[in-house]
């Protein structure tokens, strides 16, 4: 008899809780009817119960029939872009981590084993995070059904005029371009988040890399971590939208505009204070290189270094504005 309850539990636990009680009672009745049919008024044996339950079939399948529809974390519609995205991201993480490992090994060849252990650890850790975030992103998209209209005809009544035009090669977004963009953001993310001490001017002595003078201030950097994450997520989101929509549409141009606005805002927060830059950059440069602190070359570099902060903000702003305008231009161009 216990077997019957186990069977009913196995079916109902896969069903919405509002229906469980009702279906459980109906199934119990059915199983008793089937048993009676099989053995009449004789005593119920475990063998008979097993036989009846085998006839009813696997509880997983029965529950699926009760549900009617299949449930997905990521449905077949989204699975292809999901798996593509995952491959790209994991691949670029691997490349980025290998580069970091190579640079560290060149700087400190003696600690290669230690670096290698750290490398494996980071690859596993970061890959797991990336996997989780991509999956969460797609699962959320699945849950809210936010499949771009281009991929989804099912809603509303379909009309032939809804058919998308055959893509014009001119306003089509090259896959390679967006993939490159995503890879770039991930490389950027890995370097900046985990190895920002390697992001700087490499100093060579006798053809050997002795150190890298970082551009950024590692201490101040911690305070900006949320902003950096925001930048990376915004960037990847932008490239992903391009990848999924596949061509310049008005909607995409608007998304592009909004995301570029967010990016610009985040960059403004990041660079508003000068604290993000390495305050000791010039001293370190003078110390490790042959450039004398009193020489003319030194003052030229110092000047350039200080000006560059302003130019970076300007370059970012112009770049983002141009990108936005091009997006609208391509979307509205006939």
């Amino acid at each position: 008899m216990e077997m019957i309850e186990r069977y009913i539990y196995a079916v109902t636990k896969r069903l919405p809780s509002s229906q469980r009680e009702d279906i459980a009672q109906e199934l119990r009745g059915l199983i008793e009817d089937l048993l009676e049919e099989k053995i009449g008024n004789n005593a119920v044996t475990d063998d008979a119960i097993e036989e009846v339950l085998t006839e009813l079939g696997s509880p997983v399948e029965l529950a699926a029939k009760y549900r009617g529809t299949k449930r997905y974390l990521i449905s077949p519609d989204l699975f292809l872009p999901y798996s593509q995205m995952l491959k790209i991201i994991l691949f670029s993480i691997l490349i980025a981590m290998i580069t970091v490992f190579a640079i560290e090994t060149i700087i400190q060849p003696t600690s290669v084993v230690q670096n290698f252990v750290a490398f494996i650890g980071s690859v596993i850790n970061i890959s797991a995070q990336a996997f989780a975030w991509v999956t969460i992103g797609f699962a959320v998209a699945e849950y809210f059904g936010k499949v771009p209209r281009e991929l989804n005809f099912q809603d509303e009544k379909w009309k032939p005029s809804d058919l998308p035009p055959i893509p014009d090669p001119k306003n089509q977004i090259k896959r390679g371009e967006t993939l490159f963009g995503i890879i770039f953001y991930i490389l950027f993310a890995v370097y900046i988040l985990f190895s920002n001490q390697l992001f700087g001017v490499p100093i060579f002595k006798n053809d050997e890399l002795i150190t890298i003078i970082p551009f950024l201030n590692a201490d101040a950097f911690q305070g900006f971590i949320v902003v950096i994450y925001g930048l990376i997520v915004t960037g990847i989101l932008k490239e992903s939208l391009k990848l999924v929509i596949g061509k310049w549409t008005k909607k995409l141009a608007v998304y592009n505009f909004l995301l570029n606005g967010v990016t610009l805002g985040l960059i403004a927060i990041l660079l508003k204070e000068q604290s993000i830059w390495n305050p000791n950059f010039m001293q370190d440069l003078a110390q490790f290189s042959d450039i004398n602190a009193t020489s003319e070359a030194y003052s030229v570099i110092k000047d350039t270094w200080e000006r560059s902060h302003f130019w970076i903000v300007t370059a970012f702003s112009i770049g983002l504005i141009v990108d936005t305008v091009i997006g609208f231009y391509k979307a509205f161009k006939k």
Partner: protein
Amino acid sequence: MSDVNKLVEKLLQELRRGTITIGVLSQLEEPQYGYSLVTLLQEKGVEVEPGTLYPLLRRLEKQGLLESKWDTNESRPRKYYLLSTIGKEVYKLFCIEWKKIFQNMEVLMEGENENGDD
């Protein structure tokens, strides 16, 4: 040959899936519970597995074609299903459509036989 049988079996399964609904509706002028419906259909030559019928009954009820009521007077409680007003109407129209399809198919198949005889 087994390939042919397999294909026939598969096509038949698809065909039965569609007809089972009309079969169920046809028997529910009088209230029936799941298992009594299985035996009733079986007596009339229509085989249906309880594992298919029970979920189908619930789905038809959700669609508003059937009404249900628990009978707790008997030794074991049973859920009885019965055609609703809409269900009766749907069944009537469904029958007309079914006969049309049946006639059309017959015309098509007879046409084939004539060709075969030539």
